[in-house]
């Protein structure tokens, strides 16, 4: 059986240097966005999804675990942050902490249930768990069912930064995204990340070398869920609402799609994929359900024709690690 990412290049100092250059270019481009006239709301939304897709990619691209329920972290963190800000009146920083912590806790619980099963079963279990949460949130009073939590106050971050100003909010979201991205990058290149990759390539062998693979996978799962939750908490400030759409299975599918389009197991792929998919949704919003059809076509063509994704193909052509 061939692995999910078929041509992983060895980590060399050159690869690290290339990646840092690309990272610097990406950060610089994103930093000048507000001065280019591009609609900042679109970029902020895309950044939240990019972080979400990177968190998801940590799990599938490096751990080989396909979670089909990652929307549960996005939605849970969103609901908890929204509730903390609106009902408890917590300041933004604590709202984010509350949402992210809720996602971490959810990661611990759902990871404990699902991590022992592999491959396809893991995907089905995570999908079923997220559907369970969907129905719980549909009925729970604090989520306001179909209406969702709306009109969430943005407040002042650390009492200084006024998040109701789009420019301030943009840089806060960008800082959050970059911090999350670097944490994931650091994780991938740590000894922990190396063990994770070895589990993806050949789990029985990793076990025979004495690694407790379930613990490594669990840690990767919780980390991925926590970061996905962090993205969900940031998104609350951008969208100013938290609704059932964020917990629905179709959202989990979109997260998978973004990562697949960009390139599973590539460092920058999920970011590119998130921007492509969010842009597509913006421009095709008037076509109704055809958007779903187009997403389906993209899924099918990615799996059949270019499994490496956009960034993966580019990296393959350039023989660089991206």
């Amino acid at each position: 059986m061939s692995a999910l990412t078929d041509d992983t290049l060895p980590v060399t100092p050159r690869a690290m240097r290339d990646e840092m250059i690309v990272f610097a270019v990406m950060a610089a481009l994103l930093a000048v966005v507000p001065f280019t006239g591009i609609y900042p709301f679109f970029v902020m939304q895309a950044l939240c999804f990019a972080l979400l897709a990177c968190a998801f990619n940590l799990l599938i691209g490096y751990g080989g675990l396909l979670s089909f329920g990652h929307a549960m972290f996005l939605g849970t963190a969103g609901y908890v942050s929204a509730h903390a800000l609106k009902v408890w009146g917590l300041p933004p920083e604590l709202g984010i902490v509350a949402g992210t912590a809720a996602a971490a806790l959810l990661g611990l619980v759902t990871g404990y249930i699902s991590i022992k099963r592999q491959g396809i079963y893991f995907s089905m279990i995570t999908l079923a768990l997220s559907q369970l949460l969907y129905f719980l949130y549909l009925q729970a009073p604090f989520t306001h069912g179909e209406d969702g939590i709306q009109g969430i106050p943005q407040g002042h971050l650390f009492g200084i930064f006024d998040l109701s100003k789009p420019l301030v909010l943009y840089y806060v979201v960008l800082a959050g995204f970059l911090a999350g991205f670097l944490l994931i990058y650091r994780t991938i290149n740590s000894p922990f990340g190396e063990v994770l990759k070895s589990i993806r390539e050949n789990e029985p062998r990793a076990i025979s070398l004495g690694y407790k693979t379930d613990q490594y996978k669990m840690l990767a799962y919780v980390l991925s869920g926590t970061l996905a939750g962090f993205a969900g908490s940031l998104k609350v400030f951008v969208a100013q609402n938290a609704s059932l759409t964020d917990v629905h299975w179709s959202m989990s599918g979109e997260i998978v799609l973004m990562t697949l389009v960009g390139g599973l197991g590539t460092i920058f792929g999920p970011v590119v994929g998130a921007f492509v998919i969010i842009a597509m949704q913006q421009y095709l919003a008037g076509f109704g359900q055809w958007v779903t059809v187009i997403q389906g076509v993209i899924f099918v063509s990615c799996v059949l024709l270019f499994r490496r994704g956009l960034v993966g193909e580019l990296a393959h052509i350039l023989r660089r690690s991206l």
Partner: protein
């Protein structure tokens, strides 16, 4: 008590659909190593084919019961020949992603033309009305669905476990290369297996059309419940899929009576309980 029996019957009917769908998933997984995410969309297509046959061609329910699974089965075989076969040898996760994409396409196209609301499909004349069993009133159509599904499930079990063809199939699941060496056309068997699994889904769709109406998203949520059923029962045994499907339907029906708030989550909760008690699922095969 009347209400309890009525919910039990609804549970048995849902159980029939779980059994037919999880059976198809298990058969397909055995041969293709693919979890067919498009199963729910193909179930929906079965119902729509029945609807078109009746409203465009004036062809009745009984013919639809035969024609719809064939039409959808052929559609499935085309999907297998044109797309799924190229995934052989790749990680199974790609099969899940590809069939998820197919499900989005099929459901999206139907939603474009038929919206999200339900289209009515009437119960055939011969199965209208009901009988009083003394302890409850049994609508004939509902009784028919349960009995007919059970017969189809058992026939599938017989086909796979007791016939020559089934023996080839089981052998090809274990070791396709060796079976090919005996001169059996394994790729053709794989295509036919996919057609069979998909046909079972379409049959469930036709059966459900008069009860649940015909909706583009009728299979979208159902397939997730069926995944939970598959996780609980495992995909190793045909009889296991049938029994788990019916049993979970009944448990869901009982929940609707005793604690309706949990009726749409009970299968997922049971899945969690089973995974906590026995992480490998009820059939006990590690995978």
């Amino acid at each position: 008590m009347q209400a309890l029996y009525a919910q039990l019957l609804v549970g048995l009917i849902n159980g029939s659909f779980y059994a037919l769908l999880s059976l198809g998933l298990a058969v397909i997984f055995g041969m293709l190593n693919i979890i067919n995410f498009a199963h729910g969309a193909l179930y929906m297509m079965g119902a729509f084919v029945a609807y078109f046959l009746l409203n465009l061609g004036g062809i009745n329910y009984w013919w639809a019961l035969l024609i719809a699974p064939i039409v959808v089965g052929v559609f499935g075989m085309i999907l297998e020949r044109t797309m799924l076969q190229w995934l052989a040898g790749l990680d199974h996760l790609y099969g899940l992603l590809l069939t998820f994409g197919i499900a989005l396409i099929v459901q999206g196209v139907f939603q474009n033309y038929f919206g999200s609301s339900g289209l009515p499909y009437s119960i055939p004349d011969q199965l209208k009305g009901g009988v009083n069993l003394g302890f409850m009133f049994l609508p004939i159509y509902r009784g028919w669905v349960v009995v007919f599904s059970l017969v189809v499930c058992l026939a599938t079990w017989f086909l796979i476990e007791k016939t020559q063809l089934g023996a080839y199939l089981r052998a090809a699941t274990e070791n396709p290369t060796l079976v090919r060496a005996f001169g059996i056309n394994v790729p053709r068997m794989i295509t036919l297996t996919y057609g069979l699994g998909v046909g079972l889904a379409a049959l469930a769709g036709v059966l459900s059309a008069p009860i649940n109406q015909v909706r583009p998203l009728m299979g979208a949520d159902l397939i997730i419940v069926v995944f939970a059923v598959v996780v609980i029962g495992g995909m190793g045994s045909i009889m296991g899929s049938i029994i788990t499907g019916f049993a979970l339907g009944v448990i869901e029906g009982l929940t609707k009576y005793f604690y309706p708030e949990a009726s749409n989550t009970v299968v997922f909760v049971l899945m969690v309980v089973v995974l906590l008690v026995k992480p490998t699922g009820l059939t006990g095969r590690a995978a």
